[in-house]
């Protein structure tokens, strides 16, 4: 089957029921997407399909029906997305393992709701676990990024 990830189309030969997460990580060596729980409980594997945030651990390879964007496709160290700039400015990460998923979830939130309230942020982000407990900083960084994107 063919998968388009971050603008590049790949031919992959995998079982229909292999979760997208493992296609990305072990077949395509795209490692920004993380395995945390495998059952859509933690959000570490969040990517976008056609701009919609999905849990790649529960999305079967055969069901991927649009272009996939991972954290690597959102921005890079040399060309940061506004959310990544805000994550750096607020020094959000501790271990950082959940943050790819947090940022991808936040990106989907901001495309739906450009100026989210605290309640909007809590609603959108509560499926993403952070075991280090950086929630206060994530809230602040989402607001900073929303402000920057509004100005732009």
């Amino acid at each position: 089957m063919q998968l388009t990830v971050n603008g590049t189309t790949h031919d992959v030969d995998v079982e229909d029921d292999m979760p997208l997460l493992w296609v990305l990580r072990d077949e395509l060596n795209i490692k920004g997407v993380k395995y945390g729980c495998g059952v859509a409980q933690c959000g570490a594997c969040t990517v976008h399909i056609d701009g919609v945030a999905v849990r790649s651990c529960q999305t079967l390879a055969a069901d991927v029906d649009g272009p996939v964007t991972t954290i690597e496709g959102l921005g890079t160290p040399d060309a940061l997305h506004a959310l990544q700039e805000a994550w750096i400015e607020h020094q959000v990460a501790q271990c950082g393992y959940c943050q790819s998923g947090q940022i991808m979830q936040a990106a989907a939130l901001l495309s739906d709701i450009p100026s989210p309230t605290d309640a909007d942020i809590d609603d959108a982000m509560s499926g993403n676990l952070c075991r280090c407990g950086t929630y206060n900083r994530i809230r602040a960084a989402v607001k900073t990024a929303a402000g920057k994107l509004q100005e732009a």
Partner: protein
Amino acid sequence: MSRIGKIARRSFLVGSAAVVGGVAFGYVMYKRPVANPLLDQVAEGEAALTPYVRVDASGITLITPRADSGQGAYSVQAALIAEELDVELDQIRVDPGMPSPAYYNTALSAEAAPFRSTDDSFAAQSTRGVMDALMKFLGMQITGGSTTVPDSFEKLRLAGAVARETLKAAAAQQTGVQVADLKTARGMVELPGGDTLRYEDLAPIAATLDPVNDVTLRDPSTWRLVGKAMERVDIVAKSTGTQSYGIDFEVEGMVHATVRTNPRRGGGMIEFDSASAEQMRGVQAVVPITNGVAVVANNTWRAIQAANAIDITWADAPYPAEMEEHWQTLSDSFIEDRRDSRMRDDGDVDAALDGAEVIEAEYRAPYLAHAPLEPITATVQVTEDRVDVWTGTQVPRFVQSNVAKLCDMDADQVFVHVLMMGGSFGHRLEDRVVREATEIALQLKGTPVKLTYSREEDMTHNDTRQIAMARGRGTVSGGKVDAFDLGIAMPSVIASQMGRQGFPVAGPDLQIVAGAWEQPMQIPHYRVSGYRAPELAPITSWRSVGASTNGFFHDVFLDELIHAAGADPMEERLRLCWHAPSRKTLEAVAEMSNWGAALGPDKARGVAFCLSFGVPTAEVIEVTNTANGIRIDNVCVAAEVGTVVDPVNFENMVQGGVVWALGHAMNCEITYSDGMVDQQNYYDYEGMRMFQAPVINVRGLENGDAVRGVGEPMVPPAAAALSNAIFAATGQRIREMPMNKFIDFV
């Protein structure tokens, strides 16, 4: 003979030798410097100035032997070296280095020695000295006990200073300019005329010189980096998905493995049938390991699918099968035969309780998993004459020695490459995953094997936090707390943890009473007794160790007595507390929380205090009793840490510690049925999610003279403050965690 040999004979170890002070029995023998591990790897033209700084033509590398599980350890260690070395953090590489006894942890011994951190008496100091020597002997390169900052604070700045002065001496030799006329900045020595010499270019000369050990640390008022907000060295990578963790490690020819071992922890495997698993796509091998079986495949998911398809018959657990028996074991341990310590025994508790109106209460705290978001992994390659291990670990020296034993090799044939950890909280103090990966790799010689646990395997095979129970008896009189008698029963964490490393531990286990016996409170009749329960399920250090349960027990019982006395919870704690820096933390949270001011309807505050890991910490929690349950609105925290090394990371760590403690206090427990852990994943071990996260206001106090770490001390008071706040809001006293067994949270 090469230059390397010449340096090796001098065998300088500036970093530690210069800071290990004091004398104590048995110390002299181990005071002899150990070899500098970098010298083994130094080629001609390079200089390894101390075990913490490496300069060569490719640049400057700072060695940061304390592991980073998210607490910012690499950044803080780099900053301490860079402060004196005069380099900027964007000019250097950070490398955890190879395991070595040179990186032993001196601060960990301060916590192990039986003296309160508020005790500066000669006996306390000299005992800590003995423990230093012991740690050096054991070569414990351990990350834990909130010791990275205390252990590194002088050692790494001295290392930076010695390296800088030696590079200046090299510049003086090359140019003929007096050292006194040389300056340093941004990784260069500046000559009086403005010309500069790069450290990298001075390395070959520096390697021929005696290190300049006579250095003076700079005055704190001149610090460029320490005490200021720093950009963490890993922050860009961790915000862009480019940080590589243990689970992301790749090497040519690597295969993917997963394991299933007996969920009745420590029990054996009777038989297994892997016929169908072996037919599954991508499966390359199914091999037995200790107490279980491993699947090797060409993809992690395929390995996990195949492992789940194996039929296995497991043996029984070596501990009681059901939880009631675990609790009963603790309950039966409050007897003289099981008394492990009575480090606090002020006044005459028995007389004070005799015939008085005694307030009694019993408290419980469950087993808890660490469950860092990155499941545990290790990659191991075994060849004829060497083994390479790539893993996130807090105990690289133990890993090295255990792998060497398994492979029947010498420790110096085992190369442990420490990788970034996606959280730990104590989980990666255990090294079973490395041993298992080694067992697999031994059966696939030459092939690198990456072992990844499924979340379910990780959750059900966690060496958990201890289970614990406490019983309090006390009296009040004249509006004051008069007698306080607390007994705490738990199995020994240290015996379980160190036992798996083959170290028998003699004497009392102070973790049984940590966070309780050493509280700086002056109560007329005050006793804390530890009871060592028999070993149950395997347990290990979980963020704040003994204090994680005992801080809850001690402070909630104190709160109950204060309530019985009719006193104000803040005023009475301040009255009882004799230690000025501790009092200041209580005063700070009183001010931050506007303690005493009226709150809206259904709202209330609770306060708690705990001194652990040398850090007095006070927390006030404000809750609302809503129609749907308790909402945690905000938390105020004040902690005395001597010096706040990085205010931003400090705030982040403190907030994280509070979220950690409250999440587990609300809804987490690990329980056993039929000898197996019931909880499988985050759906039944949830912790705190964003919608529950309170606003957390943080203040770091700098009144003490010793610098302290903050990874753990925020945890012990938080659950107590929550219980006390819930009592204030509802009148319901919650004496057991998780609290959602007794009350709903929104």
